[in-house]
Symmetry: C2
Subunit: 409 residues, 2 copies
């Protein structure tokens, strides 16, 4: 493939949401072919198609079989690829569409969250050599028994990254309806900065902590295969944000983004006799019951009794509370409390690694604004604070101002 | 497969047009499983899905590639099979859906009108032995390069017949929105009789001459593989009409159906020097230009000059007239005339073979009603007359009364 200049592009649902949008995407692809690129395009289902199919299924059953759900949902991408091929033909560009099955996107058999195991490049490369634009249905594959599988949330991004990896190119553009990755949610911060570059790890932290531009799985995949993701808008020709190895980044901010996650609730188990392994037991219990625990903090109080606080998705709160209550009895703890109106405000940046006192500065800024910090958790490149939800906007604004707006001056 | 009592059922678009309809179909299938049948179900796309997909494509191109159109349209059936599987699961019936690709419905590479070459029964039989209802996407297959193909009009019926053939069963039910095959169009004849049985050849004649219940290809297929087609409604549990070999029929009417075809126009080329091979040349020319000629009648007039009349689809009339004009010049004929307001009224029945004077009786009946016959063509089991379109209803009523209503008394 060394003689081909391959560009992988992925277009999300809004980018192909209408016939006119599909035509616009075709025109964009044409520009790349004119520049000599061999273009491989991954498309999602049009606009709200997937939601409509799910609604149709829900009229028939509350508990659809994974296999049949994947059979159903994979049609959305198949519609998009054929329409995009037609739009390209119409403007004189040779193109051919392929389902996941046709290019052997082999996955494991976990319906609705399958993992890609391999992709055959034979047919793609043959079509590229025939000067065809290759259009691939994202989000889907087949298991070793030819059952259609889907990759779960962010699946089409993952398809695109996987294709870039197997085709040996680092160029992968992810087209969406925003111009790139911003330093904050534009609904909160009036003029957030668009990042030119961001590292995989920062992007993963941002995704985990509430920024919705990319799903973490595709970023992990890109990191693993060293693929640069150019996140940009299909509605204009502006440069977006390139997600890349931090070693290759030209500029590194101490903090590249501020986020708030507002879909979690906090649970506190008080006065647990302090014995080793309690946090581990709690995690295991939650995991077995498919409750995703995000933050967990343990503190020791008087009389060797500890408190454990954790956050779970609000949608899992009832289930999690029941499990914690069981734990409380087992452990002889005094009470289980919960709080729903919380926000997890986070600051993320690779620059933290080499800057001292970032955490202290964050706590100070929040304190100056009378924001009480209820839980703190830190990673190498991120600091998260649980605060009362009413301060979520204020806290983001204050942190953004101190760390980002001041640095840009 | 000898130990399995296999029943193939095909449900058309209206039969699976809504979630409630799909549930009703699931209940029907359940009854068959309770009777010990191993059920193989072929489904069409829901309601108007195919039309909607075509409309979507037409927003992008006037001349879609066959391959991409088949890629697009095949999604309709894929949606139906998954939903029907879910509906069966919901009422406790194990079921599994398969695309054409998954059960290797191999076709030739003629997109949008592909012909089935083979079907693998391995996976179907395996699933049937596991006590699963097998749901197959009709209308679709794959060529030997894994491109998705579709079978054209009536394709799902053809899929069902092919499955019955390869599975070695003669039992194939075709569910539709009418109760069976009638002796006439109920929009014209107030109380047409429902036929209990009809022969393949009669059904083919009826299909060719305007009755829309079954497409001729599926009937030809059924005849070739000796599969009995039970045409019936999915909206009730009445017996329908069984299309079968005439040797097996219990009762044979002289005439089993009266039809009118009103979408054709007549062309007459006058005063052609009468040389051999003119009709052949005309047919060849039309064929090369993809104009379907239905009836063709040649008559010799005075001075050894002949006239040729033929009927073509109204939608092909302009093209056909241009071709006839070319022929006129080549042959030195005097004129080309056309008439759009015609109807082809036909009577069809295997009983004609053994009854004398049926043709004469038909002409007499029409004459008694002052209906002028402009062209006549006969086959072994059918007689067609071109008449002025204004008499189409009258002619059908008169023929139905004489041949069918009187016989039933």
């Amino acid at each position: 493939m060394l003689d081909l200049k391959i560009m992988v592009q992925k277009y999300g649902g809004t980018s192909v949401g209408t016939a006119d949008r599909i035509k616009a995407v075709a025109e964009r692809i044409k520009r790349y072919t004119e520049k000599g690129f061999s273009v491989v395009v991954v498309v999602s289902a049009m606009g709200k198609t997937t939601d409509e199919l799910i609604a149709l299924a829900s009229q028939l059953t509350r508990n659809p079989s994974g296999r049949e759900m994947d059979m159903l949902l994979s049609t959305g991408e198949q519609v998009s690829i054929s329409l995009l091929a037609m739009a390209l033909h119409e403007i004189g560009i040779d193109a051919i569409s392929y389902t996941g099955s046709q290019i052997r996107v082999l996955t494991d058999g976990n319906f609705s969250r399958a993992k890609i195991e391999s992709i055959s490049t034979d047919r793609i490369v043959k079509s590229l050599r025939e000067k065809k634009v290759v259009i691939v249905a994202g989000f889907q594959g087949v298991d070793d028994e030819e059952n259609i599988t889907t990759l779960g949330r962010g699946g089409s991004d993952t398809s695109a990254v996987a294709l870039a990896a197997v085709l040996g190119t680092r160029d992968c553009e992810i087209y969406t309806d925003v111009n790139g990755v911003y330093t904050a949610d534009p609904r909160i911060i009036a003029q957030p900065a668009k990042l030119k570059e961001i590292s995989y790890d920062e992007m993963l932290e941002l995704a985990r902590l509430g920024a919705a531009v990319l799903h973490s799985r595709s970023v992990e995949f890109a990191k693993k295969y060293n693929v640069r993701l150019h996140v940009r808008s299909s509605f204009n020709y502006e440069e977006g944000t390139i997600v890349m190895p931090k070693e290759e980044m030209m500029e590194k901010f101490v903090i590249s983004g501020v986020t708030a996650k507002r879909d979690e609730a906090k649970i506190t188990i008080r006065d647990i006799p302090d014995k080793p392994g309690i946090a581990a037991r709690l995690f295991t219990l939650m995991g077995e019951n498919r409750v995703y625990v995000n933050m967990i903090v343990q503190s020791t109080g008087k009389d060797n009794r500890a408190s454990i606080s954790l956050t779970v998705l609000k949608s899992d709160l009832d289930k999690a509370l029941k499990l914690c209550e069981t734990m409380r009895k087992d452990l002889g703890a005094s009470s289980v409390e919960s709080k729903v109106d919380i926000a997890i405000v986070s600051a993320v940046g690779v620059g933290m690694l080499s800057s001292y006192g970032v955490a202290g500065k964050i706590f100070q800024v929040l304190s100056e604004h009378n924001v009480n910090i209820e839980m703190i958790s830190t990673s190498e490149i991120g600091i998260s604070c649980v605060i009362d939800d009413m301060y979520a906007e204020l806290a983001q604004k204050a942190l953004h101002k101190i760390f980002i707006e001041s640095e840009q001056k």
